[in-house]
Amino acid sequence: MTLDINWRRWRLVAFGGFIVSAILFVAIFANVVAPYSPYDLDVANMLAPPSGAHLLGTDELGRDVLSRVIYAARISMMVAVLASMVGLIFGTIIGSVAAYFGGWVDMVLMRFMEVLFSFPAILLAVVLMAALGTSVVNSMIAIGIIFIPGFARLARAAAIDVLRKQYVESARAVGMSNTRILVREILPNIFAPLLVEAAVAFSYAVLLESALSFLGLGAQPPEPSWGNMLNVGRGFMANAAWLSLAPGMAIFLTVLGFNTLGDGLRDAFDPHLRD
């Protein structure tokens, strides 16, 4: 029984890890892997169906769809990683400060986090983009802000657990400063669950980034992003279905990879959560 559970858990991590590493590899080495430049126009070859020369066909300006999907992975990964970092860093600071100081600091910070959490994510993302202006960097910030409350809640819960430990009492007893206790004793001990959450946040960031680009609020053409490619593809569904299929499949595989990796890691850290 134990062996079976370990094997299943390992299989999930391996499957998710494989997809995620493949996409990360493609994103990092896009200039080596992509057969063409994502910006090269080829007017003689507009809306060409998939062929040996263009494995996923070409778009309405004759650009190679495969190369654009590959380069778009860079934007998605960059946004996913940096947005999750924004959420992770600020969420961890807010959550651990709330837990450490307790009282009204805890109440004010966490009530504010709850209000942020109560907004539907896509609505908040769209409103933040309206304020910040449309760009890849701003979509990173907007998505990062959406992640802060989730990380803050988790960090607070984990920090409250750590605060009961004897080594924190000892640190207080020997007169360590609050900042030092937070940085040296609490943060390192609450990082594991937060990193697992980050894997799940990655997948959500990929979905949100592509949604924003789809609405024209994220990456702007001609910069390739899966969301804006899908949006353009909508106009050519009848005669060039590959324009919608390729970027959609890329989003799907990336989200699936991060989700299964996150699920697997979560099982590995806490087997009670499996069912």
Binding site: R111, F112, E114, V115, L116, S118, F119, P120, A121, I122, L123, V126, V127, L128, M129, A130, A131, G133, S203, L207, S210, A211, F214, L215, L217, L230, G233, R234, M237, A238, A241, S244, G248, I251, F252, L253, V255, L256, N259, T260, D263, D275
Partner: protein
């Protein structure tokens, strides 16, 4: 119980106040852009200043916010910067469209999640269970706007069964209305069922292993009786909590789907506000969605406290 309701309402009012402040500050934090959007990029500085003065945009944010909040509390959402039309009545016209979409999507999600989650639990750790869990994992990774595109490809372009977009009120032509609503509802509902399948499965697995269900089996009850009569009700209680919250989530995630299918709901009104930098429109639409989501969450919270007193014990 009354005490619980009182405190929940206080918390609700506080959340709503802070949420409205967050929305207002976020949308108004960039000074001058509304005037430029309304008057065009060639507008003179004098014209921009006049526009800002007329609309109170030259006042400090806190004064703008209190003035706006005072109006909103009296049911006045102001006028569109673009065409001076009153925003409130337009919001009211659009709410039923979004509500219909959210309700239909919610029905789709539950029609998929309850039977599949139950079947998976009945065949726990067997082939069917793994199949259903895998299916839910796959659905959880599909973006709803991609599913919408795929549905249009199949149902409109290939089989020519459904219109690609548009909206006809139910009162005018019910058949046409449903034809236009099927794909948007499926796009939202199918994706939403991914979470609900998992919740239903987990909930049913727990109930099926309870002593009273084993007793029912021991007394000779068939699987159908054990599941439908003895387990379903108890398994549905925790499920309904999550499902109700999911309804609020559905209402909040209509922005893209309404845009794709050209539905004149509150979600597409948000985009109208953004594209035109029409702050009164954007604020009214975003606030309406937030209020609906918060009200749904409040109702769920209160119902849970009534159905299960243990959940309020800590208060």
């Amino acid at each position: 119980m009354l005490k619980v309701i009182f405190w929940r309402l206080i918390a609700f009012a506080f959340t709503l106040l802070v949420a409205s402040a967050i929305l207002f500050v976020t949308i108004n934090v960039v000074p001058g852009s509304a005037a430029k959007a309304a008057l065009g990029i060639d507008a003179t500085p004098q014209a921009l200043a006049r526009f800002n003065a007329q609309n109170g945009l030259d006042q400090p944010l806190i004064i703008q916010y209190t003035a706006w909040l005072g109006q909103v509390l009296q049911g006045d959402f102001g006028h569109s910067f673009q065409n001076s039309v009153a925003v409130g009545p337009e919001v009211l016209r659009r709410i039923p469209v979004t509500l219909e979409l959210a309700v239909l999507a919610f029905i789709v999600a539950n029609l998929i999640a309850i039977p599949l989650g139950t079947l998976a639990a009945m065949r726990h750790q067997r082939g069917l269970d793994r199949g259903v869990t895998g299916f839910a994992t796959i659905l959880g990774a599909v973006p709803n706007f991609w599913l919408a595109t795929l549905l249009v490809m199949v149902f409109t372009l290939k089989w020519r069964l459904l219109p690609a977009s548009g909206f006809t009120p139910f009162s005018e032509d019910p058949i046409m209305n449903l034809k236009q609503m099927i794909m948007p509802a499926l796009s939202l509902g199918i994706i939403s069922s991914a979470l609900l399948i998992r919740i239903m499965r987990a909930s049913m697995i727990e109930v099926l292993s309870a002593d009273y269900v084993r007793t029912a089996y021991a007394k000779g009850a068939s699987e159908k009786i054990a599941v439908l009569r003895h387990s379903m009700r108890n398994a549905l209680t925790p499920y309904v909590n999550v499902a109700a919250v999911e309804f609020g989530f559905l209402f909040g995630s209509v922005v893209i789907i309404e845009d794709i299918f050209l539905l004149p709901g509150i979600g597409s009104f948000v985009l109208v506000g953004i594209i035109n930098r029409d702050y009164p429109v954007l604020l009214a639409a975003a606030l309406t969605i937030t209020v609906v989501v918060l009200i749904v969450n409040l109702i769920v919270d209160l119902l849970v406290s009534m159905l299960d007193p243990r959940s309020t014990a800590k208060h």
